[in-house]
């Protein structure tokens, strides 16, 4: 099947098998390997991307379902100059990553979380991240990074 979609602001067209997962379209056809795959049961969230502004687990979305949609991956988050997005910078300041494998998905989930709840409580941040697993950090740095961005930017930053 032929699909057309916008990925990180670029128009893309691809001929795909109906069973191709969005994450494999991104990683293997478009070369956007920033989005990682950590499981096969929609449990870990490593593959989280934004689909029309909503966070989705791209291992559970077929590429054909993204036909006509707008996809944002970690590669599309920072500005053209390559500077860090406020959430990325906060993740670094708060040591919110170690091995980094969950990080792109975690950052995208955080972007979505703050878009929906610009002023979350700590409890809301923790609940909001339930679908994203990190095995290294114990989550405190991640939670603190998100709370700091919510405080300093009002959460409006996208």
């Amino acid at each position: 099947m032929r699909i057309e979609l916008t990925v990180n602001g670029r128009h893309e067209a691809a001929e795909v098998e109906p069973r191709l997962l969005l994450v494999h379209l991104l990683r293997e056809r478009l070369g956007l390997t920033g989005t990682n795959v950590g499981c096969d049961s929609t449990s870990c969230g490593a593959c989280t991307v934004l689909l029309d502004g909503q966070s989705v687990k791209s291992c559970t979305v077929l590429a054909v379902q993204a036909d006509g949609a707008e996809v944002t991956t970690i590669e599309g988050l920072s500005g053209a100059g390559g500077g860090l997005h406020p959430l990325q910078a906060a993740f670094q300041r708060h040591h919110a990553l170690q091995c980094g494998y969950c990080t792109p998905g975690m950052v995208m989930a955080a972007v979505s979380l703050l878009a929906e709840h610009p002023h979350p409580t700590e409890e809301e941040v923790r609940r909001g991240l339930e679908g994203n697993l990190c095995r290294c950090t114990g989550y405190q740095g991640i939670v603190d990074a998100i709370l700091e961005v919510a405080r300093t930017t009002g959460g409006a930053e996208r």
């Binding site: 499981c39 096969d40 988050l77 990553l97 405190q140």
Partner: protein
């Protein structure tokens, strides 16, 4: 210049990882690369009568389907018990669900999966051996009939504790199950192998590129120079990526056969049955003590579930034995162990590898003694602590504790928690049926870090227990450090740069650390056993000081002074007494590569250091967990988690804290949530992350953490390492807290994980007058 060691520096590693520029193995795409996938055993224990591959091989875009018979050049996986080798592909018999029986090579992962589904294996089922009880029963089915027993290895107790136990005024027993856990790094295991006419290149998600090269060289009979191993960014390891997996040689052999690069990456469902599991011990413990809570004798028999093959699991209970007495002075300690085969995934190292199991057992013993004597658990600990002047302390098995001050961490912990206030609240909540019960649990633990020395590591099949670093001062005055450790999240690029910055009097941003590539890094050992800072960091310091020494000689020549009169401060070399007439690092570095200006000096500044530690280090600490237990549902909530760690000198407080938090999170996960389980037929019941419950942010508490510093004499930094401390500290802090919450009901023992059901049953049993 202010010291970089001890500064909370943000990590050099982060910008790449944060922007999706990580180089994990699965991101690699080489021209002509094919994908390989295993056909894995669906049976726990069976003879293979035949394998039908025709339908799979006939699929378009499939490049081959191979069984063990098709690949006679495939070497087995090394074992510590000769005769019980694990074949890289099962030949006649399978011994666990997930064991590879055939391999498919195809153009992409989808086609490979299609082909795997079309391979049919004809199994003749054999009786499963899903647990230790079955394995050790009279007339048990044997995994290796030729071995005559499912006991793969055994160390009988040295000595007899019975006399000392009998002489003690009181004695008690515990049977502890340290349940099987899955390390579950977020990145599953993967390799890419590319065996060209000249070189075999392997990219691997591993904890030591050099170890992998050494093994490949031995197994494939290829000289070191013909193999290059690269550990790119690695998405967590937790010990399990130090184990050896069939993919290493299968991908290499297929790459040579097919003349194409081969990628092999696990799915998570594969990872949960194929990557080594951890813990999986049953401990029979007996303790003798007096009414004041003094411990007089301890007997420990460890039975280690090794899984299907005797690999890394054989060494784990030995580490448990060594650390059984924890941070206490116990006059008589007798320990023994055995490693037993079951038809389950092989067991290996998991964050702490044998030491968390020891810390759990001795800290449960302490609380049992407290419950039995009525002496407060803090007081029982104090009365039995090795005193601060007891070091170096030699344990019952001859292992030496380097240094420690267990009272210091505990004192700081008590200041942080308001112990009396907590006890008052606990009493009040017991009286108020509308509120959850509350429990306070302690863990004063000690473990091993800085693993070496070599005598110990050689016994575990490693090349040694040393570590290496090479410092190259570039002509522009920047420094490139090549290190033999192989980080997978620990932040070595930052921490090692901090150590080198101090030794060289250079700013942090002038120092780059490279690792994980056998072609650019001198021989190294790798990252495990909390060794990277304590052993690798010392190598970094020594290499840096040697580079400084050479630079000082260059500077002395340029300043027309004697080297012993030249000083280095704030990045400038000058003759003692005249700091205004100095030259900068940049100039010294540049001139070092210009023989026309060097006189008789040899050009270049590049020096290596190999550091062999004389001692293992013993990181320790005191942690406290406060839990709430719902009376109706048995649900446990962590209300506070407070920890004081003593890893000696802290290099970077930010990343040190990260290591402790991550380890504690895994320890809490073991205490409350995680358990790999098997059904009676030997089928795994936890082969996805929907069933194996890795906790999320919603389940984790906010951590209150501090450090005290008792330096180690094992290295000049005074640093002990702490990668495994959190995982060693936490499980018993949580379990002791939950038992403390229920102790007034008579509950004395609960087995991990403390699911609501288990806790609820204990409450019900106590209410009905029974024993939990």
């Amino acid at each position: 210049m202010t010291s970089m060691v001890g500064a909370a520096v943000i990590r050099k590693e982060d910008p790449n990882l944060l922007t999706g520029r990580g180089t994990y193995v699965d991101n690699l795409r080489l021209p002509g690369m094919l994908h390989m996938a295993f056909v894995r055993s669906a049976e726990a224990h069976a003879r293979i009568r035949g394998i039908e591959v025709g339908a799979a091989a006939a699929l378009p875009r499939v490049h081959g389907v191979f069984t063990a018979r098709d690949l006679p050049e495939l070497p087995p996986i090394p074992t510590v018990v000769p005769g019980l080798e694990r074949p890289s592909l099962a030949r006649d018999r399978v011994r666990f669900v997930g064991e590879p029986v055939a391999v498919v090579v195809a153009e992409d992962r989808y086609v490979a999966a299609d082909a795997v589904a079309r391979v049919t294996v004809d199994y003749e089922p054999l009786p499963p051996v899903p647990d230790l009880e079955t394995a050790l029963a009279e007339g048990a089915p044997l995994l290796f009939p030729e071995h005559g027993s499912n006991v793969y290895a055994e160390i009988p107790p040295a000595g007899d504790a019975e006399a000392a136990l009998a002489a003690a005024p009181r004695r008690a027993r515990l049977r502890l199950v340290n349940q099987r856990c899955a390390p579950a790094p977020m990145e599953p295991f993967g390799v890419v192998a590319d065996w060209g006419p000249k070189t075999l290149t392997v990219w691997a998600s591993c904890q030591s590129a050099h170890f992998v090269r050494g093994q490949l060289s031995k197994l494939l009979a290829v000289p070191y120079g013909g193999i290059r191993v690269i550990a790119p960014d690695v998405g967590g390891g937790f010990g399990a990526k130090q184990s050896w997996y069939p993919e290493y040689v299968v991908a290499a052999v297929l790459s040579r056969r097919l003349g194409r690069p081969i990628k092999a990456t696990e799915t998570r469902s594969e990872n949960l049955v194929a990557m080594t599991h951890g813990r999986a011990q049953v401990q029979e413990v007996e303790v003798g003590f007096d009414d004041s809570g003094r411990i007089l004798a301890l007997r420990v028999m460890v039975t280690q579930d090794a899984g299907a093959y005797p690999g890394d699991a054989v060494g784990l209970p030995m580490l448990t034995m060594i650390m059984s007495a924890g941070c206490y002075r116990i006059p008589t300690v007798v320990t023994g162990c055995r490693a037993v085969g079951t038809t389950t995934t092989p067991v290996g190292a998991y964050r702490g590898a044998g030491r968390p199991e020891a810390a759990y057992l001795i800290e449960r013993v302490i609380d049992l003694v407290s419950d039995e004597t009525g002496v407060d658990p803090i007081e029982v600990r104090r009365r039995n602590f090795l005193p601060a002047d007891a070091f170096p302390h030699t344990t019952h098995l001859g292992f030496v504790y380097d240094s420690g001050d267990y009272g210091k961490a505990l004192r700081r912990l008590l200041e942080m928690i308001d112990y009396e206030g907590l006890r008052r609240e606990q009493a009040a909540r017991r009286e108020d049926p509308t509120r959850p019960l509350m429990g306070i649990g302690f863990s004063t633990f000690v473990e091993m870090g800085g693993v070496g020395p070599s005598a110990m590591m050689e016994g575990l099949g490693m090349l040694g227990g040393w570590e290496s670093a090479r410092a190259r001062v570039n002509p522009d005055g920047t420094v490139t450090l090549a290190v033999g450790t192989s980080p997978h999240g620990q932040g070595h690029e930052t921490a090692f740069a901090q150590i080198a910055a101090d030794a060289l009097s250079l700013p942090l941003d002038r120092i780059e650390v490279v690792h994980g590539d056998t072609e650019v890094v001198q021989e190294g050992i790798g990252t495990f056993g909390s060794r990277s800072i304590a052993v690798g960091g010392e190598a970094v310091r020594r290499a840096s000081l040697r580079a400084r020494e050479k630079a000082t000689r260059v500077a002395a020549h340029l300043l027309e002074a004697a080297p012993e009169d030249v000083e280095l401060e704030d990045g400038r070399f000058f003759v003692r007494g005249s700091p205004d007439r100095g030259i900068g690092w940049e100039e010294v570095a540049n001139k070092a590569y210009r023989p026309t200006q060097l006189g008789d000096l040899e050009p270049g500044i590049e020096v290596a250091a190999f550091y062999e530690p004389g001692l293992t280090t013993c990181p320790s600490g005191a942690h406290c967990c406060v839990v709430g237990v719902d009376r109706e549902t048995g649900r446990v909530t962590i209300e506070r988690y407070v920890g004081v760690d003593d890893c000696g000198t802290v290099i970077n407080p930010l990343t040190a804290r990260g290591q402790v938090m991550g380890g504690v999170a895994q320890g809490i996960a073991q205490a409350l949530y995680e358990e790999v389980s098997y059904g009676e037929s030997g089928q795994p019941l936890t082969s996805t992350l929907a069933e194996y419950l890795v906790p999320s942010a919603a389940e984790m508490p906010r951590f209150e953490l501090e450090h005290v510093e008792t330096p180690t004499p094992a290295n000049s930094l005074g640093a002990k390492g702490l990668g495994e401390s959190g995982a060693t500290a936490a499980p018993q802090a949580v379990v002791n807290a939950v038992i403390d919450a229920l102790s007034h009901l008579g509950v004395r023992e609960l087995q991990m994980p403390l699911t609501p059901e288990r806790v609820w049953r204990a409450i019900q049993a106590a209410a009905n007058g029974g024993v939990a």
